[in-house]
């Protein structure tokens, strides 16, 4: 007669052996795959040679020596998460750019978690690289990560989410994207004869990602309300915060968590409170979110009375822009090419160049055919060949000028200074810097 509590040694041994075999099998499968970094770093070894580990600074800013300085330089890059397609594309672009510039790259996965981000920050600092590039997932964590880098005196770049200022910051301009997409939507709504009293606007935010990501919603709606008379006005883009759920009677904001399923569920529920005869305008902060929202509208049978935009320039987003009548604009952020700009920014910093408050990442507002001069609103064919999801050209560099950063503060925004490093010319795809 035995008892459950008395686990025999044989059972225990079996369990341990089973777990070990399973772990080895999983590890074996994982090592044969590619692009599967977790907490461990993967080195992309430089193709070229060079002194590498010592950071050389030049008293002449913009000397063009930055390109040479990158050869063999040790760079650590922490991605927001390898689990989301758009961020996976970004990481692949960074790796490709590292190969092209001869950088010795190590990558880390922040997994969208604050604790992992801080752990990776320490790991990166411990590896003593020449440059750290950190894509922080959680608003507020950047300060803590920056403290680690500053303590170790390691130069760094804050990607997408700003810190306190130690790490120069590169980000897409939410103001430009938001206002431009509003212009496109307003034109399309006008062409359809839609009036404000017949319109319901659904804004799909990701409350946990903070203002650096969600501010595009505020810029979008502020502009839209100016262009469509009768829509409830807001004092400024900052009026729309994470706890905003309604604006007047014709605007609702829901939390889609930047993911497809939560966005689908949030919009599906929101639609129940919107009369069936209302025209729908949907805006969200990512393609995944827009796709979830669109599916919810489609399931409700209201896709023919909808204007929707995407933000990311993902493969699916571009396909929707090409083939879906309701999808009228795609805010393209060329994520897969940010690596080029990051390397150029690193080179500029190594040269001793002063960076603006926000280095502008490449963006464009792509439409099916519409062009609005003096803006970044252009047809998709400006940057993509038919049926291609890889841009053959990137937008021209922007001169630094006073603007509103994506954190909602006034400052200098631009990226023209990157030209002087000579790095972007290596890739030859930026308009005006072709080979």
């Amino acid at each position: 007669m035995g008892s459950r509590s008395g686990v025999t040694k044989a059972r225990l041994l079996f369990g341990v052996l089973f777990a070990c075999v399973l772990a080895v099998a999983i590890a074996a499968c994982g090592s044969s795959g590619s692009d599967s970094s977790s907490t461990a770093s993967e080195s992309t070894t430089a193709a070229g040679t060079g002194s590498g580990s010592e950071t050389e600074t030049s008293s002449d800013s913009g000397s063009g020596e930055g390109k040479a300085m990158l050869e063999g330089a040790k760079v650590a890059f922490a991605n927001y998460t390898d689990a989301a397609p758009v961020y996976l594309e970004l990481k692949k672009g960074v790796e490709a750019a590292a190969q092209e510039t001869g950088v010795d790259l190590s990558t880390y996965d922040n997994k969208g978690e604050a604790q992992q981000t801080l752990q990776n920050a320490q790991l990166m600092a411990n590896s003593n690289p020449d440059m750290i590039m950190d894509l922080n997932p959680v608003a507020g964590t950047t300060q803590s990560a920056e403290n680690i880098f500053e303590r170790e005196s390691i130069p760094c770049i804050a990607v997408n989410v700003p810190g306190s200022g130690y790490c120069p910051w590169i980000d897409l301009s939410n103001q430009a994207l938001g206002t431009e997409m509003a212009k496109v939507v307003a034109k399309e709504a006008d062409a359809k004869g839609w009036k404000a009293e017949d319109i319901e606007v659904i804004l799909v935010q990701s409350a946990g990602l903070g203002p650096a990501v969600n501010s595009s919603i505020g810029f979008y709606y502020e502009e839209l309300s100016k262009l469509i008379p009768g829509l409830p006005k807001v004092d400024s883009f900052k009026s729309i915060g994470p706890e905003t759920t309604t604006i007047g009677d014709s605007v609702v904001q829901v939390n889609g968590e930047a993911l497809r399923q939560p966005s689908f569920e949030a919009v599906q529920n929101a639609l129940q409170g919107i009369p069936a005869d209302k025209h729908l305008i949907v805006y969200s902060i990512s393609d995944e979110s827009s796709l979830g929202a669109y599916t919810a509208v489609q399931r409700a049978g209201r896709q023919d009375d909808l204007l929707i935009t995407g933000l990311a320039g993902s493969e699916e987003g571009l396909e929707q822009l090409r083939n879906n009548p309701a999808w009228v604009a795609e805010g393209d952020v060329f994520f897969s090419h940010w690596g080029e700009y990051l390397m150029a920014m690193a080179a500029a910093m190594m040269e001793g160049q002063e960076t603006p408050d926000m280095t502008a990442a490449p963006i464009a507002t792509e439409t099916k055919k519409l062009t609005i001069k003096g803006t970044g609103i252009v047809p998709i064919s400006t940057y993509y060949k038919p049926n291609s999801v890889q841009p053959y050209r990137l937008p021209p560099l922007q001169p630094e000028e006073e603007a509103v950063t994506s954190a909602g503060e006034s400052g200098t925004v631009g990226n023209q200074y990157l030209e002087k490093t000579g790095v972007l010319q290596l890739f030859g795809n930026v308009t005006g810097l072709e080979k």
């Binding site: 369990g15 777990a19 829901v254 599906q268 529920n269 409170g273």
Partner: protein, 334 residues
């Protein structure tokens, strides 16, 4: 008093006693707290929002409840037997991704469905063997498989979203009988089958015995290891089915699907009268728990409650329902 009057008084007294017994029996039900809560929520939201009781909204609630309901029904088997399964959060997206990939290759929806459900069964088998044969703690074992299966979902999809290229692949979310989505019918079928199994079969009754007292069940000659393993297999299959249902709604699958379903499914079972120590619970209570959570989410969305407060409210409701159930237990004991 005349005989007739006395007879009437007696029958009224009997009716009152019968009503009191019925009320006592209803309140004695393990999911009485959640039922009261569900009714209260329905009444509140119906009074606060004119759209709440509209047919389209009810269908949205049922459709949203279907996926989590299917997963929670599988979880019911495990909780009744004295365990719990956290790996559903990894099994669901893995099955959804596998289903999509096979269907996209043109192999057919039925083979894709069979393979995806088999994946769920395999995960459940691994869980069951680890827990019943190797004596692993269910928390640790299923937490481990949750991470493994969740990671596998990303490996299989290469970190990308698997789009269901043919709309027919998402048949579970389509409406074939009236306006009711197919996933609701699937939920009903799964719930009915589970009800029959748990209430009327030796297997079902054995699970309650197992959860109530493992040692006594073993001493009574029950095949406790087989029972324990089988409930995890069932849970794995339902988790796979739930993942496919969600993906059918979205016509896409990725590794982040159903990331909160482990805790939600366990919460639904507990709301429905289940106990983490085992031996209690049932499909009726689980379905009521799922509906309560679905009504709460939908109602708060209709009332435009901020998502921050929605999370707090969901936690508060869970504590309230469990608290009502606990009061009931104390009253019964008294």
């Amino acid at each position: 008093m005349s005989t007739a009057t006395r007879d009437v008084a007696e029958s009224h007294g009997m009716a009152r006693r019968r009503d009191r017994r019925f009320a006592a029996k209803a309140l004695a039900s393990p999911y009485s707290g959640t039922t009261i809560l569900l009714v209260a929520l329905v009444v509140y939201f119906a009074a606060s929002s004119s759209e709440f009781l509209e047919t389209s909204n009810i269908l949205v609630i049922l459709g949203a409840a279907a996926a989590i309901g299917i997963v929670a029904i599988g979880q019911t088997f495990v909780v009744v037997s004295g365990g719990f399964d956290l790996s559903v959060s990894g099994t669901a997206p893995l099955a959804a991704v596998v289903f999509g990939k096979i269907a996209n290759e043109g192999s057919g929806i039925v083979p894709a469905l069979i393979v995806a459900l088999a994946v769920g069964a395999a995960v459940g088998l691994v869980n069951g063997l680890m827990i019943s044969r190797a004596g692993f703690n269910p928390l640790i074992a299923t937490l481990g498989t949750a991470s493994i299966t969740g990671g596998l979902a990303f490996v299989v999809s290469k970190g990308l979203t698997v789009i269901y290229e043919d709309r027919a692949t998402g048949f579970l979310a389509e409406r074939s009988i009236g306006e009711i989505p197919n996933q609701v019918w699937v939920l009903l079928i799964v719930a009915c089958l589970t009800f029959i199994v748990l209430r009327y079969t030796t297997f079902g009754r054995s699970l309650y015995s197992l959860g109530g007292n493992w040692e006594a069940s073993w001493l009574a000659g029950m095949r406790v290891n087989l029972l324990s393993t089988s409930v995890y297999v069932i849970c794995g299959v339902t988790a796979a089915l739930g993942g496919i249902v969600i993906a059918s709604q979205l016509l896409a699958a990725d590794g982040q699907l159903a990331s909160n379903y482990a805790l939600l499914s366990i919460a639904a079972v507990i709301l429905g009268g289940g106990s983490l120590t085992g031996g209690e619970g049932g499909v009726v209570g689980t379905v009521i728990g799922v509906l309560a959570l679905g009504v709460l989410t939908n109602g708060m969305a209709l009332l435009h409650v901020s998502s921050f407060y929605q999370e707090m409210a969901t936690g508060g409701v869970l504590l309230l329902a469990v608290g009502l159930g606990r009061i009931r237990q104390l009253v019964n004991v008294a």
